[in-house]
Symmetry: C2
Subunit: 133 residues, 2 copies
């Protein structure tokens, strides 16, 4: 089980300099992951998205969407109507990534009982390391 000789993939997220690390951070980031997850169900408007992703600020949502659009994961469709209407939806690339992401999210959600149990065990074993001098 020594480190397998790593196929020489052109992009390696483990190295600090690789651009894939930045994209991975957009995708897995606090708001990026939830945004992609929300859009997987279908296209949404700005404020719909904002309501769906509980807790996100306008600023962060805007910023997140820009990053995802720039990376080619999200498509922005603005209609020049009045009042303005803008829809966001996943690109095919975005769908592909979001699919993996959703699998991860569901996996975590589905095993939360185990996680919570593990936490309780961990915390009990270390009631506190209170320095008692």
């Amino acid at each position: 089980m020594a480190t397998a000789p790593e196929q020489d993939l052109p992009y390696d997220v483990f190295s600090r300099a690789c651009p894939s690390r930045a994209t991975l951070e957009h995708v897995t980031g606090r708001w990026g992951s939830l945004t992609l997850g929300a859009l997987y169900e279908g296209s949404l408007r700005f404020n719909e998205l904002r309501r769906r992703v509980d807790g996100v600020s306008e600023k962060m949502l805007s910023q997140t969407l820009h990053a995802l659009e720039r990376d080619g994961l999200v498509h922005r469709e603005a209609q020049p109507t009045n009042p303005p209407r803008v829809d966001y939806e996943l690109t095919p690339l975005g769908r592909e990534v979001a699919e993996r992401l959703l699998a991860l999210i569901r996996s975590v959600e589905g095993r939360m009982d185990d996680v919570l149990a593990a936490r309780r065990r961990y915390d009990e074993a270390r009631p506190e390391e209170s320095p008692s001098p």
Copy 2:
């Protein structure tokens, strides 16, 4: 394609208060994701891990490992030898999660050319909004 009526899962990462959101952040966080990814190949010692996850500081690695251990994703095996030897490895739960995570990482790595192309297109379309007064 309206929002499907959401099976009433007990844990919903989209709501701010759900504990699953915290765990998702441990898993997808900058260092959490890389740490889980590295451990997927096999158990590693602290400094091996540190070298594998390019750029992580001692402090952040330590902190990350604690969070993952507490969530029951990583097991810490300390041997009371001298010099001390501590191995970290994924728990079965950790393996399950890391598997999904790795699928995501590989997906991103494998599509980086498309991402980079999208970025170039995006940046060209907006050379810069330099205010030129």
